[in-house]
């Protein structure tokens, strides 16, 4: 290869390597801040600030959803299987909100450690299947067969 071109090739390699390195360092410096939400374990450990807008994400605890009969008030608990955070919310929940499914709630922690949510988003998982397959899996699970 022509020496001038070789020199330019090295310049290109340096640009890519050093810009990646710079971006990597920025990402490392911001590592906590890039997360969209706190998992309940971090909230329980006191890492989430109280009284300030934050998001908490995890699975809705099965059997924890309590709906008010005369308003849109709803209470539920979110878990990451290490700790649990209680959530209070008034408003319309997304269609995919369900017990045992992922959720991200935005709001602020009150003095009792309950998240007063102003927005609840459903977190969809990566599984896609037709209804018949889901039914068959459910039947196999209840029959004690591992899929």
């Amino acid at each position: 290869m022509h020496p001038v071109r070789k020199q330019r090739l090295w310049a290109v390699v340096f640009i890519v390597v050093f810009s990646s390195l710079a971006a990597g360092l920025v990402g490392y410096g911001l590592r906590g801040n890039i997360n969209l939400f706190f998992p309940p374990a971090e909230v329980a450990a006191g890492l989430a600030p109280a009284g300030q807008p934050i998001r908490v994400g995890g699975m809705v605890v099965v059997g924890s959803v309590e709906r008010s009969t005369d308003s849109l008030q709803v209470r539920f608990a979110v878990t990451d299987y290490q700790a649990t955070v209680k959530v209070e919310y008034e408003g319309i929940l997304p269609d995919l909100f369900a017990e045992g499914e992922g959720v991200v709630a935005a709001g602020a922690l009150d003095e009792r450690g309950v998240l007063r949510a102003s927005e609840v988003l459903a977190k969809h998982d990566e599984n896609y299947m037709p209804p018949e397959v889901a039914d068959a899996l459910l039947k196999a699970n209840t029959a004690g067969v591992t899929p």
């Binding site: 310049a11 890039i34 969209l36 706190f38 994400g57 927005e119 599984n127 037709p130 397959v133």
Partner: protein, 251 residues
């Protein structure tokens, strides 16, 4: 290998070969797009939780995947342009930017349309969506930077630098759902088998991904041909092309 590389740098050769490729790739692309879209949108089974709204996957995933891959094509062309000062590489880089921007926009738009009924929000500032928005700005940035210079060689140099620096964003987009807590779900499909999408839904998705790759190549070649004609409008071979009306077959 080097003789092929040198041929790539020749505008008449590039114009001729791209015409021959397009003559069969364009019908193939239309066939794949029609086949994948009809299969995915009409015949694939609905999802057990999302119902029919999951079908946005057949536009969202192919557009986003090819938007990322297209960036590497643009940056690769930029590197060749910087190192070998090859004019055809400038043309390829310039042609990639609007196509990539359109695909990224399509990915963001389809994601927002899907996000509203599924997540409950049009837009969330999580790592995946934000890094994808940065990709759109990188593509738009290359377009704007190219237009900002009158001297095309200088414009190509500046754009190649921007494109190369921007490559750092591609692995970030790809791994963002694994590195940070995000609302966007982790990757559903993998080349190593074990996709978490049922095969009845996956087969049309593979077709659509293939169709979008072909669509990208077709758009790239068509845009490059237009750019080649514009740049070479004063040369003998273009004049000869117009006189004989040989279309894409003249070399």
């Amino acid at each position: 290998m080097w003789s092929f590389f040198h041929k790539l740098g020749s505008p008449p050769w590039m114009y001729g070969i791209s015409g021959r490729i397009l003559s069969w790739l364009l019908p193939l692309t239309l066939l794949l797009l029609a086949w994948g879209a009809v299969w995915g949108l009409l015949y694939a089974p609905p999802d057990f939780r999302q119902g029919h709204s999951f079908r946005i996957i057949y536009v969202h995933v192919p557009a986003s995947v090819v938007a990322l891959a297209g960036y590497y094509v643009m940056a690769g062309a930029g590197a060749v342009s910087l190192i070998w000062k090859m004019k055809m590489a400038d043309v390829a880089m310039k042609a990639c930017a609007p196509i990539g921007a359109a695909l990224t926009f399509l990915g963001l738009l389809s994601g927002a349309v899907w996000g509203k009924p599924t997540w409950g929000a049009w837009w969330v500032w999580d790592a995946r969506t934000t890094s994808m928005l940065i990709l759109l700005f990188l593509y738009l940035g290359v377009m704007a930077l190219y237009a900002a210079w009158d001297d095309e060689a200088l414009a190509a140099k500046a754009c190649a630098l921007l494109a190369l620096v921007g490559t750092v964003n591609i692995p970030i987009i790809y791994k963002s759902v694994d590195w940070w807590y995000s609302l966007h779900q982790p990757a559903s499909i993998s080349l190593s088998g074990d996709s978490s999408v049922h095969s009845d839904m996956m087969q049309p998705l593979w077709l659509m991904i293939a169709a979008f790759y072909c669509l990208f190549v077709c758009s790239l070649l068509l845009t490059m041909r237009g750019e080649i004609l514009r740049r070479e409008s004063n040369t003998g071979w273009v004049r000869g092309l117009l006189m004989t009306g040989e279309g894409g077959r003249a070399v």
